[in-house]
Structures are given as structure tokens and as C-alpha cells.
């Protein structure tokens, strides 16, 4: 995209944000279409495929309700992403999934990498992420995929920074096994 095209796209986005904040549903639909892939990918990685659609809808409904609070202090995509993370975390709290988050579950180390090889490394890697124990997955996604710092993650999740670091290492070690042995490795070993 050229500088000029980029600038035009940014102005279009800013206009759509302003229009949507004033109640223009068509402008909001354009914002949805621009950002849905990233938001859906986030929810899919954090919560799994089966919940991703519903939570993505929740996120955009919440965005519509809160657009009036967007002050333009950060990029809209950054604001939306943070809002999305908060909705996901709320969702996990609601369903008490986070009870297992910090549990030292030894069986987690035997997480099953049964994803069929699909020839798409990114998809297979994402599938492996989905197989991680909830707490480890959450922090791996936030830190390594989405680029948040430990202190930001600790603040969002209400945990200690050290806990975030430990969970990240745990997740990486599990993913290391996946990369080293490939999809189905554990299945083969257990058969």
C-alpha cells in the first residue's frame, strides 16, 4: 500500500469510527469487516474454535456500546484489541475456566497433539495452541502471539508477573514437544 493509499485508508477508518460512534450501523459494519479476522483469530486462539464465533459477536456488540468512550488516544485497532482481550478474560471468568489456569496439573504435560497433518504449518500450530491447558494457552497467546508484556498480562489477568512467566515457559515447553515430534506424536507414543 502506498503512503497516500495508507493515509486515505486511515482517514476512512477514522471517519467510520466517528460515524459508528454517532450510531451509523453501516460504518460500524465496515469496521467489523476490517477487523473481524484479527479479533476472531484472537478468540479462536484464546478460547478455542467452538466458542470463537459467539465471543467475537459479543466483542463487536460491546465495541458498539462502548464506541462513545473511544477518545482516539491510541489507534482504534489497539483499543479494539484490548477491549477484545478483556471480553475474553471476562468470559473465562464467567465460566470459571480460570480455576484451572494456575493449577499445577501434571497431566497437562501430556496434552494430546492429535491434530491431523493438514499441510498448513500455521493452521497446525494454531491447532496445537488450542490443545494447550487453558492457563498456559492464554499466556502464550497474549505474550508470544499478540505481543503483550508480562506486566500487561499480569495486570489484565490479575496475577503476579512471576506467574505469567512460569506459565509462558510451561506453554513453550509443551509447544516445543509439538514441534519436535509433530502432530500425533503423543498419540503414537500412547498407542
Amino acid at each position: 500500500m502506498t503512503l497516500s493509499a495508507d493515509s486515505t485508508a486511515r482517514r476512512g477508518l477514522e471517519t467510520d469510527v466517528a460515524l459508528a460512534a454517532a450510531g451509523d450501523a453501516s460504518a460500524f459494519e465496515r469496521l467489523y469487516r476490517t477487523h473481524v479476522a484479527r479479533i476472531h483469530s484472537l478468540t479462536r486462539r484464546m478460547l478455542g474454535t467452538h466458542e470463537a464465533d459467539e465471543v467475537t459477536q459479543d466483542i463487536f456488540v460491546r465495541t458498539w456500546q462502548k464506541l462513545g468512550q473511544f477518545r482516539g488516544e491510541s489507534a482504534f485497532s489497539t483499543w479494539l484489541h484490548r477491549l477484545a482481550v478483556n471480553v475474553v478474560i471476562e468470559r473465562r471468568r464467567t465460566f470459571a475456566i480460570n480455576r484451572e489456569r494456575m493449577a499445577d496439573d501434571a497431566s497437562a504435560l501430556d496434552f494430546v497433539t492429535v491434530a491431523p497433518a493438514r499441510g498448513d504449518l500455521t493452521v497446525d500450530f494454531e491447532h496445537a495452541i488450542e490443545q494447550l491447558p487453558a492457563g498456559a494457552r492464554e499466556i502464550l497467546v497474549l505474550h508470544d502471539v499478540e505481543g503483550y508484556k508480562h506486566r500487561e498480562i499480569a495486570s489484565m489477568l490479575g496475577i503476579a508477573t512471576g506467574t505469567s512467566k512460569r506459565q509462558l515457559h510451561r506453554a513453550r515447553m509443551l509447544m516445543r514437544r509439538y514441534l519436535a515430534e509433530g502432530p500425533g506424536a503423543n498419540e503414537k507414543r500412547h498407542s
Binding site: 459477536q57 456488540v61 462513545g68 508470544d144 515457559h169 515447553m173 509447544m175 516445543r176 514441534l179
Partner: protein, 246 residues
């Protein structure tokens, strides 16, 4: 595997260790091929995670319809924060029915409050206007938007844009249609329509009362016409929505 060392490898990789720990790990890695291999594996994991983060996949199904259905109702509260004065430049907004209803109600409510204020303190209509009105025949406005005034038997000025009987019949028809199609609207939409009808009705009552106190006030008569027009408009749109839902 040397867990006391491997446990530190993620922090080492992320530069999260204190300088002395960082140096100690570096030193260990130089002499331990096993831990060095684990570090390389962890680097691959991080690289793959970043690659995954750079690729976003949209949902398989279009989720917009579900979102659109859910955002149709709430903006009533949002409309209440919008300034009551329309922008000078034309804007291309596509409002939903509840948004329009809320906006109409807001204007009606604000206008109603202004009507009371004006009724309480507005000067009488200038003599020149009174003279012109007296000279003009009482006739309905051709476009339905203007307010031509007339005087009733008691000498009070009443709007004649739409005769009371016509207006009442139109309102009754639309209210009947709305009542019939009520089951086809969702509860939130019904609540918003009814709430806004109540507000408009209140504005109409206020304008009538204010007119009774100041029959010559052209603003008040125009306001009454406008409020009644808004009510009709809202009823028409709501009734149309019930037929669209068939």
C-alpha cells in the same frame, strides 16, 4: 535435562533475567549442548507463534447478521448523548428505526421543554404577523410540513396542516396495524417505540396546554404540528417494520 537451567531459558530468551543470572545461563549454555538445544527449540516456538500472530483468518461464517440484530436496540441511550441541534453540513447517516425513534423523541422532548419556556416568557407575536395572518385564508399547507394557522370558533389559533379528525383516524389506523403486527417485533424494539410514543405524546400535550395559555404563539402551533407529524412518522415506520418482518 537440567531443569534448574531449562526453567530459566524462557526468561533468558526474553531478556527477563537479572544481569548476573543472564551471565550465569550464558556460561552454562556454552558447556551444555542439551540446554543449548532446548533454547534453540524455544526460539523456534517463539518464531512460529509470531508467524501465527501475523496471519489472521476470518470466521468461516459471516457473523455480521447476529451482531446487527443485537446492536439494533441499545443505541437509545447513545442518542440521548447526541447534541439536540442538527449539524449544518449534510451527513450520510443510515439510522435504524430505534435510532430514528430515539432521536425523534429526544427532539420532541427538548422542543417540549422549550415550548414551556417560550409559553412562559415569549412576547406576543408581532402585530405585523398578526395582521398578515388575519389577511390570509386558512388553508392546509400543501407539503404537509408547514404550519398554516386558523382560528376556531372561540378565536383560538389551531394548526390546520392536518385536521384533527384526519389525524386521529391516521393515528388510530397505524396504532391498529402496529398492535396487530406487534408479535413480529422483538421486545426491545417494541419497548423503544412505546417509550418514544409516550414522550412524543407528552410533548403534544405540553404544546397543547402551552397553546391554550398563549393561543397566538406561532412557535407553539408549529411545534404542535411538528410533534404530531413525528408521531405519525414513528407509527408509520413501526408499522412498516412489522410488515417487513413477515
Amino acid at each position: 535435562m537440567h531443569e534448574e537451567w531449562t526453567d530459566k531459558l524462557s526468561d533468558f530468551l526474553d531478556g527477563e533475567l537479572a544481569p548476573d543470572e543472564q551471565r550465569a545461563v550464558e556460561s552454562h549454555l556454552r558447556g551444555c549442548a542439551e540446554c543449548a538445544a532446548v533454547l534453540e527449540d524455544l526460539k523456534r516456538v517463539v518464531a512460529r507463534a509470531r508467524e501465527a500472530g501475523a496471519v489472521s483468518r476470518p470466521p468461516q461464517a459471516d457473523l455480521w447478521a447476529g451482531i446487527a440484530a443485537r446492536i439494533d436496540a441499545p443505541p437509545a441511550a447513545r442518542a440521548a448523548t447526541v447534541a439536540p441541534f442538527p449539524p449544518k453540513a449534510p451527513r450520510r447517516f443510515a439510522f435504524t428505526l430505534p435510532q430514528l425513534a430515539a432521536a425523534a423523541a429526544l427532539v420532541a422532548a427538548v422542543s417540549g421543554a422549550m415550548a414551556w419556556q417560550i409559553a412562559g416568557r415569549a412576547p406576543r407575536v408581532p402585530a405585523a404577523v398578526d395582521a398578515r395572518r388575519a389577511a390570509e385564508p386558512a388553508a392546509p399547507a400543501s407539503d404537509g410540513a408547514g404550519a398554516a394557522d386558523s382560528t376556531d370558533a372561540a378565536g383560538r389559533i389551531v394548526p390546520v396542516v392536518m385536521a384533527d379528525a384526519q389525524y386521529d383516524a391516521a393515528v388510530a389506523d397505524l396504532e391498529g396495524a402496529l398492535k396487530q403486527g406487534r408479535g413480529r417485533l422483538d421486545a426491545a424494539t417494541i419497548a423503544i417505540v412505546e417509550h418514544n410514543l409516550e414522550i412524543i405524546d407528552r410533548a403534544i400535550d405540553q404544546a397543547r396546554e402551552a397553546l391554550a395559555a398563549d393561543p397566538a404563539n406561532t412557535y407553539l402551533s408549529g411545534h404542535l404540528v411538528e410533534a404530531r407529524r413525528r408521531k405519525l412518522d414513528l407509527l408509520r415506520r413501526a408499522a412498516a417494520l412489522t410488515s417487513e418482518s413477515d
